[in-house]
Amino acid sequence: MTTLTDPPAESFKLSMLIYDTRYRSITFQTIALIAFLLLIGWLINNTAQNLVDLGKEPSFGFMNEPAGYDINQRLIEYNSQSSHLRAAFVGLLNTLLVAVLGCITATVVGVIVGVLRLSGNWLVARLMTVYVEMFRNVPVLMWIVLAMAILIEGLPSPRDFRGEDAVASMSVFDSVAVTNRGVYVPEPLFARGLGDVSVGGLFEISLDLIAILVVLGGGLFVSNLIKKRADVTQNATGVRPRTWHLRTGVIVVPLLILLVILGFHLGYPELSGFNFSGGIHLRNSLIALWLALSLYTAAFIAEIVRAGIMAISKGQTEAAAALGIRPRRIMSLVILPQALRVIIPPLISQYLNLTKNSSLAIAVGYMDITGTLMGITLNQTGRELETVLLGMLIYLSISLIISSAMNWYNSRVKLVER
């Protein structure tokens, strides 16, 4: 505004606000700002008026009240007496869990399928094309529902494991139970565990896990040191000393010692009462969502990978072949590293899509942030405005964090152009 009332030249005319390029941009921006502020003000005013009419006061006080409902999959301590806030937090962790699992699986499957689509094997290439087209052209919500239905109808229920002439039996040396309530796998247990440590009173982290991570990290660090020394030796003498046994040793041996000290053993799932107990229970809702999301996204990633590979000029393959590199190593050493640079930007948006699509979890009853905060909490408290806005804010932050992290990675691997 000050610039408008403060003309530099004496011959300022009002029409210069539009015709003079020096002022025009300021004029337009002021108009845009006013329009924008008016719009925001209008929306806020409407909202306030409506809330008064409905007799509601926006406040987040309800978040501290007991939630009153139970959540089956909880990564941190939670019961029906915990607050709505904690329920939302449990949901957030579930969202992140399925997003991370999904992204990893989708990448692995997508890369394999993308490479196989270019395979010389006619049948395999066709099969992969059918897979990609089927998954890309049917809504992801249908795949989620379908995956759940297949798991429920196709797998035996825990009842079938019971009795003398049980229909179903556990697999992998009686250690894994695959049921239509989920998969039960052995869990690591520690006879002489170190206990838990509370983080800011919010949730607890197992000290055993921290100890293992510390030892593992230390091992990797030492192994890296050995590698660097070997590099130095190789550069100096031309002979690379044999280090692989040392390098695995410094990682594995301390870990094994730690596990023995902690009294590590596996807890097997076993049938008791209505269900299997013991072991880690991967629920069907998680598996269905995970499978459907990763297979759906993998179809898109496969196309991205294929396009990336095809973008690398054929001369690269031929040059590598001329150097005598074997076909499989050409792919992994020459083509894929170059294709990666083309692949990563669209890959980021696929990761974001997967994370956002995980909000469809309610279709299979997976309790993610949409299911807890924007689902049951919304229903029980009737606080639409607060819960939906908070939920959107959380998703927005997740998206921004993922995209900035991946953009940082992208800028690191990007070819430095000269």
Partner: protein
């Protein structure tokens, strides 16, 4: 200039606010249609048939109100709602009334600011389990996997019940009744819990209903009834008395078959006369025609007829009257007098 514009916008918004909030009855009459919120699909209570006509027990309440207000039982716009959208739809005025298996609770009355006009079905939360599980009481369900429909009071009752009895359980939250049924039948959960009426109607559609038992415990009271917004008591009265007219009609023996005859001329019973508009001016008090109750009853019959047609023992749902019998027959249905 900027300020004036904002004030201008405020004034416009204020004017529009003043225009809103007219009586629901006038809105409905002006529109010529009643917007009635129902469930997206619950066998026996509300579901669209192949031609898109809605039918069911809750739907009949909507039709009765439409009959009373507009004289045409088909002048209803059915608005399907989910557990999540139903209250917003009512609060925002998108629907005039909600008839969707909604439990009357204090917090919904006082905190969400709705008026429950009565109860059209007395229900309670129960459990269903396969016979082969060998369970005879809900007290034996420690450690069981329980399928629940989300977005209802059901999951709160369930959490309370298991906590009170010091039992553990694994909740499997499910969006719709149809999916819950699929999971339950496949054995993905041991028991299915929802309102007892829902359990009965679900069991009725099984391939072999006799292989499943409904456990004797009813762990909650679920009075289901139609509701309207706070702040328009005249409209609340109309919906309340339309429902009462259905209930009273059964008590007085007025059916869809004989209602026209009985309304043609005043009979012996003063209360029936008052209700059917041949005596007094009850309709006028409500702001409706004198024959409002006649229209409400002829929309789908009295309460008993509606019950028998949609969820009664002759239908696949096969519910007994139980608590939902007239007070004269040991039930809880008790209409206040038409006076």
């Amino acid at each position: 200039m900027k300020k004036t514009a904002i004030f201008g916008a405020l004034t416009v918004a204020g004017l529009m606010a003043g225009a809103a909030g007219a009586a629901t009855l006038d809105d409905v009459k002006a529109r010529g249609k009643l917007n009635c919120g129902v469930s997206t699909g619950l066998a026996g209570f509300s579901n669209p048939d192949a031609n898109g006509n809605w039918e069911g027990f809750d739907v009949a309440v909507c039709r009765a109100v439409a009959g009373a207000v507009l004289g045409d039982a088909n002048a209803v716009e059915f608005v399907p709602t989910t557990g999540k959208t139903r209250f917003t739809a009512l609060a925002s005025g998108e629907i005039d009334m909600l008839a969707r298996n909604t439990t009357w609770t204090l917090s919904r009355d006082a905190d969400l600011k709705f008026t429950f006009v009565g109860v059209n079905y007395y229900d309670g939360q129960g459990f269903m389990a396969p016979k082969e599980l060998g369970v005879s009481s809900a007290k034996e369900l420690d450690g069981a996997t329980v399928c629940i429909q989300t977005g209802t009071t059901t999951e709160l009752n369930l959490a309370d019940y298991f906590r009170k009895n010091n039992m553990s359980y694994e909740p499997v939250p499910i969006e719709t009744n149809a999916e819950a049924q699929q999971q339950y039948l496949a054995g993905a959960c041991d028991v299915y819990t929802t309102d007892a009426s829902g359990l009965a109607s679900t069991r009725a559609t099984f391939e072999d209903p006799s292989a499943h038992v409904i456990l004797p415990e009813i762990i909650s009271k679920e009075p289901l009834g139609p509701l309207v917004r706070h702040g328009d008591d005249e409209w609340g009265d109309i919906v309340r008395w339309s429902l009462n007219a259905l209930i009273a009609a059964e008590e007085f023996g007025i059916t869809s078959a004989n209602v026209a005859d009985m309304a043609a001329a005043a009979g012996d019973s003063p209360e029936i006369n008052r209700m059917l508009g041949t005596e007094g001016n009850l309709g006028e008090m409500l702001g409706l025609d004198a024959n409002w109750a006649v229209n409400a009853i002829s929309a789908g019959g009295n309460y008993g007829e509606v019950f028998e047609k949609n969820i009664g023992e002759s239908t696949p749902i096969g519910l007994a009257r139980g608590l939902n019998a007239q007070w004269t027959e040991g039930g809880l249905l008790y209409s206040p007098p038409f006076r």
